[in-house]
């Protein structure tokens, strides 16, 4: 371990948590009402302190059934027959309410998830609001999606989302589903249910008709009940490839339409003609954004051999300035790992990396005594066969590999079962376009990384899943074309 001194100290600049009021317990949001779940309630903790935030209901199969029936009724009686323009207006209202209550959502998200307030405030919440605003406008323009005139909604969408971007993933799922005229039953992740429950309150403030959005909290069994419910017409899942596989098996042979947004192991390729300082910022943004809990994280750095030492030295210097700590501190760059379970996985894979012969580097940084923390980490001397070059770590751990020629870079970048995203750093436009063509990945960031927008389709090749979220493409997942 090499130590890098922090150039200067920061005074703490904590965001006040007084803006949020967390109830001692929460029910399920079904048919416009909060109701008690019949499953065993569970607690959700602040991963930065291990403090219990609240107790949350767990949806049993019977609760899920109630939610699906409410969604079906709403689809048939209110949301389905509604004028498309009015559906759009409800979504616009939701977008505005999210903006109005943005600070509250950001603080709650950071408390429940552990991500830095800077990110929840500047990325998660604004993008969630933008997602609703964008799809609101589509609601009365579906003839122009490209599925023929009068495309039909599918019915009830069952949606299961992960813990890394709780509100944003909700928005990615709910906004296009509703704009297309479907109703939804959404299961948030077990460790991050709170912003989804606050979103339920937003739905009430918007006077969204009962049953259009139903939120059923719980763990894997609740998710399974949503996915396997006979009256669900569409399943959308974001999460691990293993769970994605089991969902694809579960819906096999049914009428259910399925979209999957799964894992990734993105290559971030730095050529010797890249602007190094800019690339280093991009590498940091690529792997340490959201503690590396990002399916499209740039977790494999492929750096051209001739600039390897220079890039690593510069990267280490930059990582030495990253602030790890209190998620609510506005200076914080890296927050808490979301759960003890995830922390254990990151530790395990990092230890395997070292055992397999890669060199671990971490900056000198003090970690809080309580909570779940992992320092930003770089592995050099990584070979493509190492587990840390193949498995999704989903943490602030970067594996560095080298290449000599563009062909080798492409071969190594594509040498993965995943295909979600990739990065290219070079000043040469023709090279960027050529490499972008050859990469088997759904999103390619050139001279930037980890950028998202509601208008921009996102999703993977290969075992990173299928279907796209965002843009016109995102609506295809929730509509049936007249010609189909």
């Amino acid at each position: 371990m090499t130590s890098t001194s922090v150039p200067f100290e920061y005074a703490p600049a904590p965001e006040s948590r007084s803006i949020v009021s967390i109830a001692p317990s929460y029910g399920l949001f079904i048919d416009g009402e909060f109701v008690d779940g019949t499953g065993e309630p569970f607690t959700t903790v602040n991963p930065a302190t291990e403090e219990v935030l609240t107790e949350v209901s767990s949806g049993s199969a019977a609760d899920v059934d109630r939610a699906v029936r409410a969604a079906r009724r709403a689809f048939e009686k209110t949301w389905g027959p509604m004028r498309p323009a009015d559906r759009g207006k409800y979504l616009f209202r939701i977008a505005r309410l999210l903006q109005e209550r943005a600070r509250e959502f950001a603080v709650l998200e950071s408390l429940d998830n552990g991500k830095p307030i800077r990110e929840s405030r500047d990325v998660d919440v604004p993008l969630a609001a933008a997602q609703f605003f964008y799809y609101a406008g589509w609601a009365d323009k579906l003839d122009h999606v490209g599925l023929g005139t009068r495309p039909r909604p599918l019915g009830v969408a069952g949606q299961v989302i992960p813990w890394n971007f709780p509100l944003l993933m909700l928005a990615w799922k709910v906004a296009p589903a509703l704009a297309a005229g479907n109703t939804v039953v959404l299961k948030p992740a077990e460790t991050t249910p709170l912003t989804a429950l606050l979103f339920a309150e937003v739905c009430r403030q918007a006077d969204l008709p009962a049953g259009v959005v139903n939120i059923v909290t719980g763990a894997g069994d609740t998710g399974r009940a949503v996915v396997e419910h006979d009256d669900v017409d569409k399943v959308a899942f974001t999460g691990s490839t293993d769970v994605g596989r089991s969902i694809a098996r579960a819906v096999a042979g049914t009428r259910k339409k399925l979209t999957l947004e799964l894992g990734g192991k993105a290559a971030n390729i730095v050529f010797d003609d890249a602007p190094i300082d800019q690339a280093v910022e991009g590498i940091v943004q690529g792997i340490f954004f959201n503690q590396g809990h990002v399916c499209c994280a740039g977790s494999r750095l492929l750096v051209q051999e001739s600039i390897h030492d220079e890039v690593i030295a510069s990267l280490q210097r930059r990582i030495g300035t990253l602030r790890v700590g209190d998620p609510l501190d506005k200076n914080t760059d890296i927050g808490a790992i979301n759960s003890a379970e995830q922390l254990a996985r990151i530790r395990e894979l990092s230890d395997i990396g070292e055992a397999e012969g890669a060199q671990r580097w971490q900056p000198a940084c003090e970690l809080p005594d309580r909570g779940f923390w992992y320092p930003p980490t770089i592995f050099t001397d990584v070979s493509p066969a190492h587990r840390i070059a193949r498995d999704e770590i989903f943490g602030p751990v970067l594996s560095v590999l080298t290449f000599r020629t563009p062909d080798e870079a492409v071969a190594k970048a594509n040498n993965t079962t995943y295909g979600l995203s990739a990065g290219i750093w070079s000043e040469k436009g023709s090279r960027i376009l050529q490499i972008a063509n050859q990469l088997r990945a759904g999103v390619v960031w050139a001279n930037t990384f980890n950028k998202f927008d509601p208008t921009s389709p996102f999703g993977g090749y290969k075992q990173s899943g299928y279907g796209r979220e965002g843009g016109r493409h995102g609506l295809a997942a929730y509509l049936e074309g007249a010609e189909q």
Binding site: A248, A252, T455, K462, Q484
Partner: protein
């Protein structure tokens, strides 16, 4: 067409793999009859090894085929139509015999099959404009999306419509830039073998299309679970096995086209529905400015 006193030279119907016409490595054949049950030929009955060889060939052909310009790929597909037209009589006879159609109905099916290649040939250089485009992101970035081929697609061709149905499921895979391993109709495989001869003598590079005659019920399992197959069209899967194939396909997150309840009317305009399942959308971002 054959003089009364001349003994016909019959064709040996073989597989089409990697641009060559091998027999099944298993040595297996099965009897193909016409709609009335009269013997027509002994077709090769493809094995698991043949299916695996076909996947290797399709994977090998993918980089070149997918990198071809859309204009070029369109011309290659158009050329298939041209060469098919020259074999019109032969196709009509085989379709009539296999499907038990009248001469005029067989002709209509062959005409439609040829025209379908022409239709898809015209799609290759329009897809990117129709399915892709620039995305107006809220920031200083140029952001665009393009459709790209999924890779190696296994196609279980329809069991009833032996030529028009086959072309209707194969041509869209090729038009979008993927390569194909096709299991033909089991009982009516002969037009597919003749189509293979057309493909071999047109400009489709070897390995881009691989045609296996045999039983979709056994071959389907191996293709559905094969880790180097990216997508599978289950149109011709036996109803009782389709769910199992879909479950096996989930093992590597394959793109799956589920079988229809009954075989569709293949003369209907297919729209984009057979192309979009085997297209990936790639989105590229680049900053604007310094």
């Amino acid at each position: 067409m054959i003089g009364n006193d001349r003994l016909a030279v019959r064709k040996t119907y073989k597989l089409y793999v990697n641009g060559a016409f091998p027999r099944s490595e298993s040595g297996r054949t099965y009897e193909v009859t016409d709609a009335k049950g009269h013997f027509l030929a002994n077709a090769a009955r493809a094995s698991r090894k043949d299916a695996r060889d076909a996947v290797v060939a399709a994977r090998g052909a993918f980089p070149k085929w997918s990198a071809m310009t859309a204009y070029n790929r369109g011309q290659v597909l158009y050329r298939v139509a041209e060469v098919m037209e020259g074999r019109h009589v032969q196709f009509c006879e085989e379709v009539a015999a296999g499907e038990g159609l009248s001469a005029s109905k067989a002709r209509a099916a062959v005409d439609a099959a040829v025209d379908r290649w022409v239709w898809y040939a015209g799609w290759t250089d329009k897809l990117a404009a129709v399915l892709g485009g620039a995305n107006p992101v809220a920031g200083p970035y140029f952001d665009f999306s393009t459709p790209e081929p999924t890779g190696v697609v296994a196609v279980l061709a329809p069991q009833q419509s032996s030529l028009l149905g086959l072309v209707s499921v194969l041509a869209p895979v090729l038009a979008t830039g993927s390569t194909a391993v096709v299991v033909t109709s089991k009982d009516r495989p002969l037009p597919a073998v003749t189509l293979a001869e057309v493909l071999a003598t047109s400009d489709v590079p070897g390995g881009v299309v691989n045609l296996l005659t045999g039983d979709a019920e056994e071959l389907g399992t191996w293709l559905a679970e094969h880790a180097d197959v990216d997508g599978i069209d289950l149109t011709g899967a036996p109803a009782k096995r389709a769910m199992e194939f879909e479950r096996e396909a989930a093992g590597t997150i394959k793109r799956v086209v589920r079988p229809p309840a009954t075989e569709p009317d293949w003369t209907a305009d297919p729209g984009l529905t057979r192309m979009t399942p085997f297209l990936e959308t790639k989105t590229v971002w680049h900053p604007i400015g310094l």
